[in-house]
């Protein structure tokens, strides 16, 4: 335990980096995933194909390979940048596929009669979307999106393999130096991740309960 207490600064900086990656990647993948979800339910076939293709590729490809492609493959074709942004964009590419599926399932969860009734009342497309469909699908999207974001928080650890000094990379450094304390070091880092995961799932549960409506 002394190792961690003596190096509490490194511990914090590791988890701070984890949270930072997670935040940027969450914002990016929510945005991209929503666009892709809109593609998948759009009436234009080419956009639907892009959405489907994206989901098929990135849901079946390991995150390690995606990050590898972004961090080592893109510089080969002349795309350069900081490792931090490579890590974030790899996570965004990967996570957006899962966000897309969550968004799509949310839209599909709205009963068909709701939209038909709205149209029958003479609401325009914009009104139907903003007043009737999106508020309902938004609620249905909360639980799957929470799962996706929790997975994202854990997946930030994979960025450790690509030169980002977040919590998992810090643990690796600690265990290298202090062979005897490995179980304790592991536990302290595990607890850090568990706190992040539990806070997120408690938040999601709270939102779900708050927005639940009587049907």
């Amino acid at each position: 335990m002394d190792v961690v207490i003596d190096n509490i600064g490194l511990y914090w900086s590791g988890f701070l980096k984890t949270l930072q990656i997670c935040l940027y990647a969450a914002v990016g993948s929510l945005a991209l995933g929503t666009v892709l979800g809109a593609f998948r339910v759009s009436p234009l076939p080419p956009l639907r194909w892009v959405g489907t293709g994206w989901v098929t590729v990135f849901r079946n490809c390991p995150l390690t390979v995606v990050l590898f492609f972004v961090a080592f493959g893109l510089p080969e074709i002349g795309v350069n940048g900081a490792y931090f942004w490579f890590g974030v964009s790899g996570l965004v590419l990967y996570t957006s596929a899962f966000v897309c599926e969550a968004v799509r399932s949310g839209v599909n969860a709205v009963p068909l009669g709701q939209a038909e009734a709205a149209r029958a009342m003479g609401l325009t497309f914009g009104q139907t979307m903003t007043q009737v469909i999106l508020p309902q699908s938004f609620r249905a999207t909360v639980p799957p999106l929470a799962s996706v974001l929790i997975a994202l928080a854990k997946n930030t650890s994979v960025a450790a393999a690509f030169g980002l000094l977040e919590a998992t990379a810090r643990m690796r450094g600690f265990t290298n130096n202090q062979a005897d304390d490995r179980p304790l070091i592991f536990l302290t880092f595990a607890i850090g991740y568990i706190i992040i995961v539990e806070v997120m799932s408690a938040g999601a549960f709270g939102l779900e309960r708050r927005w639940r409506t009587a049907r």
Binding site: V41, P43, L44, P46, L47, V50, V57, N60, C61, P62, L63, T64, V65, V66, F68, F69, F72, G73, L74, E76, I77, G78, Y94, T95, F98, A102, V107, N108, L112, A115, R119, F125, M129, I133, P143, P144, A146, S147, V148, A151, K154, N155, T156, S157, V158, A160, A161, A167, T168, M171, R172, T175, R182, P183, F189, A190, Y193, I194, V197, S201
Partner: protein, 280 residues
């Protein structure tokens, strides 16, 4: 065809959609062209960079040392994980709090901890030096994580069996173990099978985490190849294609199992099963 978002389009809307479709297609083709052009400019189509993937010796190495090792790692860990999940999933449903609590703790712990952290810990604790090596470190890490997710799937599956089944079994005088093995499990397996196969996809993807501790499998072979040829871009594409191909086969199996055993119902959903949503 009318859908949730749109009514059946009329002639004017159809004409407008044709215009949008053309614009969208052009934009997408332009994007694809840009990528291909960048690849061409930076010489990514050079034969030397693709050479290892058309040379028989290398192809054999990729398939035997890479794909087969990866599949071996995944299938071993899935087999162990099923056992682990069965034990802890049933443990979580025990009527004795003394059994339930530790099972709950173990399952929640391994579900919340990032798999890579776990694998690194196992590797440095017992895998390096005289230990059991990186292969088994990955297998054990995958077992603990997927086993915990499977424990939740098993529990949800058993709870999805209609209550009357268990009650009837008790009523005809079966013991607790008999109710589980003769009545509940056989029915639950059918419900769970698609979710279990989906979890195999996660396990197969997660074998790639062995990259960090240089475990055998596709990632290590890939590393050796780009180390020699300097073709990171091509190696990433080929590795991705192999993983995606293998996973699509598994996904197809899951769909077949779903249709055959479960019917049109929704696939068993395990909430907050972060693994279900993304794995690592």
């Amino acid at each position: 065809m009318s859908s949730l978002l749109f009514d059946t389009p009329g002639p004017r809307t159809r004409a407008r959609h044709r215009v949008y479709t053309a614009v969208a297609s052009l934009a997408l083709l332009a994007l694809l062209g840009l990528v291909l052009w960048r690849m061409y400019v930076t010489g990514q189509f050079d034969y030397e960079l693709w050479e290892p993937f058309v040379t028989p010796d290398f192809v054999v190495a990729i398939l035997v040392d890479g794909l087969v090792e990866t599949l071996k790692m995944a299938s071993l860990s899935v087999i162990f994980a099923v056992v682990f999940g069965l034990v802890f999933g049933i443990g979580k449903m025990s009527q004795h709090a003394m059994v339930r609590a530790p099972c709950w703790l173990v399952v929640e712990f391994f579900r919340a901890v990032p798999l890579l952290l776990l694998i690194i810990f196992i590797f440095f604790l017992a895998g390096t030096g005289d230990g059991f090596g990186s292969f088994w470190s990955v297998v054990f890490g995958l077992t603990l994580y997927n086993g915990s997710v499977l424990a939740e799937i098993f529990r949800a599956g058993i709870e999805a069996v209609p209550r009357g089944q268990g009650e009837a079994a008790y009523a005809i005088g079966l013991r607790k173990a008999q109710v589980m093995t003769l009545v509940l499990l056989p029915q639950a397996v059918k419900i769970m099978l698609p979710a279990i196969i989906s979890q195999c996809v996660v396990a197969l993807k997660d074998t790639s985490l062995g990259y960090y501790i240089i475990a055998p499998g596709l990632t290590r072979v890939g590393k050796a190849i780009y180390g020699q040829f300097g073709n990171q871009f091509q190696t990433a594409l080929v590795l991705a294609a192999l993983y995606i191909g293998a996973n699509l086969v598994l996904t197809w199996l899951a769909t077949v199992a779903q249709r055959r055993f479960v019917g049109e119902q929704k696939q068993l959903d395990v909430p907050m099963g972060a693994g279900q949503a993304g794995g690592a």
